[in-house]
């Protein structure tokens, strides 16, 4: 459980970034939170639902030049349907990918379709290849009192194979080979 400390930087502050010379200690940021050992429960009791960014701003001021305040990205969403998609084929000539969509909510059978590559974020373009997995979400986004429909297509990113995984694969491969038997030759 995270408990906010009453650091001097926090007292009397609102959510705007203050002057960097308010900072009384060394440029390295002081520890803003006190962590209850062993707990993995997210967030403190007071601000269960607030975002990390808001809490951090209240208690800690970065030793950086003041930046323009960005419009906060709407974080509250309610998923209507989530598909795990798999790229079956990519047609670069027509800029389209054939996909298989497996719904994750409700008893919806698999469907196939074609998605224009314009829906793929630039940063994900090099992930588009046969076999690649993506998540397609239809959701409602809550912004204050208004609700808007939105969709998101995000490709799955996985790290490199780890040492442990490679060891496990090697052991499994040895197991597979040990079970193989040849059949006799037919006449």
């Amino acid at each position: 459980m995270l408990v906010q400390t009453t650091s001097p930087a926090r007292t009397g502050r609102n959510s705007r970034i203050a002057d960097i010379f308010d900072f009384q200690s060394e440029p390295v940021a002081p520890k803003p939170f006190e962590v209850v050992r062993g707990s993995t429960v997210f967030s403190d009791r007071v601000a269960f639902a607030t975002s990390v960014s808001q809490r951090v701003e209240k208690v800690f001021l970065p030793p950086l030049p003041a930046k323009a305040v960005q419009t906060p990205v709407g974080a509250d969403a309610s998923v209507i349907q989530l598909w795990e998609g798999r790229v079956l084929d990519v047609d670069l000539h027509n800029d389209v990918m054939s996909v298989l969509l497996s719904a994750r909510i409700g008893q919806v059978p698999d469907h196939i379709g074609e998605i224009d590559l314009q829906w793929v974020a630039d940063q994900d373009r090099d992930l588009v290849q046969p076999g690649a997995v993506f998540y397609l979400t239809l959701f409602k986004q809550l912004r204050g009192s208004s609700v808007r429909n939105a969709q998101e297509l995000r490709f799955r990113r996985r790290p490199s194979w780890s040492r442990q995984q490679i060891q496990r694969i090697h052991a499994d491969a040895v197991m597979i080979r040990s079970k193989m038997r040849a059949r006799p030759i037919a006449e």
């Binding site: 429960v41 269960f48 990205v73």
Partner: protein, 263 residues
């Protein structure tokens, strides 16, 4: 055939049957499938971290996020990188790493890509000593009316006791926070690792006439041999349990509301 994930949780019906038996009465159930107005997840790991490692650039270099996410994180208002804390956010996650805690929180619609990110990050720091992993799910559910709203509170924490203690005309009593801990054991009553869950219920601060749920699925990480380090085990735990916990959380949230409203 891959069943829809709602059907893949193996013990929901068994658990319900056991619960029914324990109550010695059929469990009343309203036939509804509720959808959360807001639903998010947070993965928290406890251990000894070097926050300065987990920069946005480091994530991008290891192909865990793309260039657009990197730019978002760099330009973000909340970017902090130091030896004691690293924190930043993009449009779909917020990361905070302290010396004793790693926490990744989802933003926007929740997808398994979020868990992939946590798994990926931990895979790249295999020698980080981690002692526990918590899989958290948070949901805000809207109720149809003030009557339903009060009914849920009354069922979970009956007001009658408090009304008797504070009978003044202008005093009101209501549920502010309820936390239940579920500890699963084996048949010999030994605690099962990964068998501790904590569920909290509060009035929602974000949804009018809404109920807020927080679900924590706590797993102790204790490597027993050299085959896997603690960080690798933690990544495995997330990989094995995150979606199951997601399913269970939704089942519990829906179940609490269903039962409370069916009475």
């Amino acid at each position: 055939m891959q069943l829809p994930w709602f059907q893949r949780f193996p013990t929901a019906e068994d658990t319900q049957t056991l619960y029914n038996r324990a109550l010695s009465e059929p469990c009343p159930r309203a036939t509804l499938t509720r959808q959360a107005e807001i639903f998010s997840s947070s993965i928290v790991a406890v251990g000894a971290f070097n926050p300065a490692i987990f920069t946005p650039d480091w994530l991008e270099r290891n192909n865990l996020i793309g260039r657009d996410d990197l730019e978002d994180a760099r330009k973000g208002l909340s970017l902090i990188v130091s030896h004691q804390v690293c924190a930043y956010e993009t449009d779909w996650f917020a990361l905070q790493v302290l010396e004793e805690q790693f926490s990744l929180t989802s933003k926007g619609p929740l997808t398994p890509a979020f868990a992939d990110l946590a798994i990926g990050i931990l895979s790249f720091v295999p020698h980080t000593p981690i002692t526990a992993v918590g899989l958290n799910f948070l949901g805000h559910y809207r109720l149809a009316s003030t009557e339903e709203y009060h009914q849920v509170g009354d069922v979970l924490a009956p007001k009658s006791i408090w009304v008797r203690l504070y009978p003044e005309e202008h005093a009101t009593a209501g549920l502010a926070d309820l936390t239940i801990r579920i500890q699963q054991t084996d048949k010999n009553r030994n605690q099962i690792s990964g068998g501790e869950k904590q569920i909290s219920i509060q009035p929602s601060a974000k949804v009018r006439y809404g109920v807020f749920f927080a679900y924590n699925d706590h797993h102790v990480v204790a490597p027993t041999n050299e085959a896997a380090t603690a960080a690798e085990l933690a990544a495995d735990t997330i990989s094995a349990y995150w979606e199951l916990s997601w399913q269970d959380a939704v089942r519990v949230f829906d179940g609490v509301l269903s039962q409370a409203l069916a009475r």
